[in-house]
Symmetry: C2
Subunit: 84 residues, 2 copies
């Protein structure tokens, strides 16, 4: 089994209202040290080995389902793991 | 300046409807290798050094705003970076 960690982030030039809202909340609570917040997604996938190339599968899955390639970037890490 | 990467995940025993929905979509698209999906949040904070301890600030911010300690766990990484 493989554990795949996927990090999805908004592209640099894309407006991030969720991040801006979090930043504003932090400011109201007194955390003025926090100058910027960008919000993204973190996904953990448990993937069974199959005949297909794992990288190819993950890239397809990210591009089609997990991320919106128009406004988001993604990166991933693959770890081998013992089946739960 | 510090870049702080925060990973927020649901605790192991907590039901994850978003992850389950993604898994089902992947199954319908033919990605049967994916056995489990857990959805979480990934946040990037830009933090200015202040008189207060950075770890203490981040732990407070995570516990009060970024994560719900009842159902979520968090971990974070701090990187020093040049101000943008």
């Amino acid at each position: 089994m493989y554990k795949v960690k996927v990090y999805v982030t908004l592209r640099e030039r894309v407006l991030d209202p969720q991040g801006a809202a979090i930043k504003q909340s932090l400011e109201h609570l007194g955390y003025r040290e926090v100058k910027e917040v960008r919000a993204g997604k973190f996904l953990e996938l448990l993937v069974e080995p199959s005949g297909r190339d794992l990288d190819a599968i993950i890239q397809e899955v990210c591009g089609r389902v997990l991320a919106n390639p128009v406004i988001e970037d993604y990166r991933y890490e693959i770890e081998e793991c013992v089946a739960p």
